[in-house]
Symmetry: C2
């Protein structure tokens, strides 16, 4: 029996649907049923029920967005760092393999090809970077799983959310057998306040940058495939290969959804952080070589976005 934690969340819900579709035996557990964030409740439960695998899709992302994590520090730490650590300890003791939904938002920027090799560039709004993205995208590549997070408490500045996610990875890595699945900016065809495409459609102004993204269904399919195919444990960037600019996404939205409204970009970072955001945001490109080499298939990001928009299900 697979145990799914966080089934009521945006990603957890997709895991639940995917497990149902696959006919896997699973159960969910909510904090109202059992406060599993308390080790003294978690450990006996796992010992009694002995799940074959655990999916931890619980986490604290902040509502309506990560800015909320800057003030809800205790809950952010509990959800993204302390609970994952507790789960790692309990699973290690009971020899239960598990997977943890982490985030690619612990990185900022990308790697840029230079005469001296690949160099990290944190500011992808620079004209040189944007020019490369258009003319020579192969000269930009993402962060791979061997690289140390550069948008974290150990490499500030960062958002409080990102700091807790990076520290969460640090305390569960190599503790028992687990997957660290790095999600990035989820989207799919179903209008939802957590869907990146819905956000772009609704935002008063749009932040223009380059990013790797994760199609929600592709993400959970990849994660479950990893466990069912017994891919080696460890950290994986689970994003759709490639990267897109917000401008490209907007162009696809206009071409496919033909919305009546106009879209405006924030003039620059100064305007965005003065009016649109409190916490620093991560914009980054992820490398998916390890994921693909493990035999996991993911559609390229442009194809996944086009598919989501072509099958768009508007909300109420």
């Amino acid at each position: 029996m697979i145990l799914l934690l966080g089934a009521s969340g945006y990603i957890g819900h997709a895991f639940k649907e995917a497990l149902q579709v696959r006919g896997e035996e699973f159960r969910t557990l909510s904090r109202s049923q059992l406060d599993y964030t308390r080790f003294e409740a978690l450990y006996p439960f796992l010992k009694d029920h002995r799940p074959s695998f655990i999916v931890n899709a619980a986490g604290y992302t902040g509502k309506p967005n990560v800015d909320a994590c800057e003030t809800a520090k205790a809950d952010t730490l509990l959800g993204n760092t302390l609970f994952p650590q507790a789960l790692a300890h309990a699973c290690a003791m009971l020899d239960i393999p598990w997977g943890h939904v982490s985030s690619g938002c612990i990185f900022v920027g990308c790697q840029v090809a230079t005469e001296n090799g690949w160099v990290t560039e944190k500011d992808m709004t620079r004209p040189e970077v944007r020019a490369l993205a258009k003319t020579s995208p192969a000269k930009l590549r993402g962060f791979d799983e061997t690289m140390t997070p550069n948008f974290s408490f150990r490499d500030p500045p960062c958002s409080f959310y990102s700091g807790t996610k990076a520290l969460g990875e640090e305390v569960i890595r190599d503790v028992g057998n687990n997957y660290i699945w790095r999600l990035r900016i989820p989207f799919d065809e179903i209008d939802n306040q957590r869907n990146y495409l819905s956000k772009i459609l609704r935002y008063a102004k749009t932040y223009d940058n380059l990013n790797s993204l994760s199609h929600r269904g592709d993400f959970v399919t990849a994660c479950l495939d990893m466990w069912l195919d017994r891919v080696p444990f460890g950290t994986y960037n689970v994003t759709n290969p490639g990267f897109v600019s917000t401008g490209e996404v907007l162009a696809m939205i206009k071409a496919i959804l033909k919305p009546s409204r106009d879209f405006v970009f924030w003039k620059d970072d100064a305007e965005f952080y003065r009016q649109g955001a409190v916490a620093l945001r991560s914009n980054c490109i992820m490398d998916t070589t390890k994921l693909l080499a493990a035999g996991i298939r993911m559609r390229p990001v442009h194809a996944a976005i086009e598919s989501a928009l072509s099958n768009w299900q508007p909300g109420a």
Copy 2:
């Protein structure tokens, strides 16, 4: 065998000396010997060595002071929250009792007697509070162990240090058998940069407020007595009963040490936080009823300060 963690620190060193004096069988473990903050190292070590009791005097306090914790967020969390949680889990699994050096700095202010009963007053620099402290000290009392920290991530504002200490208590409480020993502003007769009396002697300006304090030797004696006397596990404020104003401490310093220098107070909070500090500081009074009721003896704070100054050992 008692295991002492953090023996090289200011409080850990005093534990080590007290254990030696008492002739207790003990061993220390440093992070250079074994990175015990990693659960996969900690758990097998404890399983092999099976200490009868563990003293966790390891923690991250920041150097030269708590302001450093505002930037070293990962290490502060690791030392004060994540490691205590890991230790709690390992000890619960192995049924090892232990004690954790926590801090009273998760509170700010005191309780003031009013017509409507006891009311929390966070600002003890208010003239009404200072007047009561002088004329009717019984109308002020400290926070007891049933009260919820009010200088924490759950009750901001707080310093990052205090936030991590309060959250550390939260994640270890009721997990196995442990003592949470709350220390507050340690001092003793030995000149040291961590000694409150040394700080007052060295500070360019002094912050005037009311506080409960812990004599370092009295603190470790009380903590060890609790374990050796099998006092019930739980949270205890381990401070010298009562409270003092910085002005009273200064008066004792002048009377006993007769220093040649003059002492100046910060004009007000605005000046202190503009020039003297980054992180908010906790000034508070702790209630020691529970400690004393458990049969642990602690000298009143004025007697402990007078004794320390009378036996003063100046540093190099």
